[in-house]
Symmetry: C2
Subunit: 134 residues, 2 copies
């Protein structure tokens, strides 16, 4: 089990890279070549980030992707939620089944509270932090 999955990790790397490069726009092909990420894979991630309003796109020849938000306005939890199904680590596999009462489940309460903690921590970690502190 990983807290940050591959998609999220790639997304973070791409965004950090784009900030560092400081180019107006950069194509999926270039990112794929420079960061050594499979082309169709990074395309899907870039498309998602653009749908989520984190990237701008310019179509057609010479087009590509550029950042729409400032690094201090992108948090890690935002990206995790986009690529990891809202990060619902509490989801009970036994609901409607063995478990007598979901509301009285101590384990569930504990996990829920841990989830809250994680979301707060990653909510305070921006892309700027990742760039600046390194």
């Amino acid at each position: 089990m990983l807290l940050i999955n591959r998609d999220t990790d790639y997304a973070i790397r791409v965004i950090v890279y784009m900030f560092k490069m400081d180019e107006k726009t950069i194509s999926a092909r270039d990112i794929s070549d420079r960061l050594d990420i499979p082309y169709p894979f990074i395309r899907k991630i870039l498309q998602t980030l653009s749908k989520e309003n984190i990237l701008k796109t310019r179509r057609g020849r010479g087009g590509g992707f550029s950042l729409k938000k400032l690094p201090e306005d992108i948090t890690t939890i935002q990206l995790v939620k986009i690529f990891q199904d809202d990060m619902d680590i509490t989801h009970c596999i036994f609901k409607d089944n063995i478990c007598p009462d979901i509301d009285s489940c101590i384990l569930r309460k504990e996990v829920k509270s841990i989830e809250k903690f994680i979301k707060e921590r990653l909510g305070n970690l921006t892309v700027e932090d990742l760039i600046r502190k390194q």
Copy 2:
């Protein structure tokens, strides 16, 4: 992503059940029937728990499993570690690859710290807590 996977969840339920029943030994077949868990599946879990010294076994006719530890001596994190590959949620998929220096990775540091928090929390949650507080 789930914090507690199916194996761990079953293991917890079985142990709680065994404490509540207060029978000397109980067979895998009985547990399977009473908790509605697939027989070969629960067998594997029981075998693992017995290898890990959480259960005692008696082989042969009339045999089965019984608890070896007290509920206050079994923590949730123990069970998670047994069934979930030590719960290494930090594991970096990019080592030896893109990442320039694993030691300077801010994201990694953050995730590692979250992992530590989770392990402490689940380390303080015993099976007795799960029974008593319910």
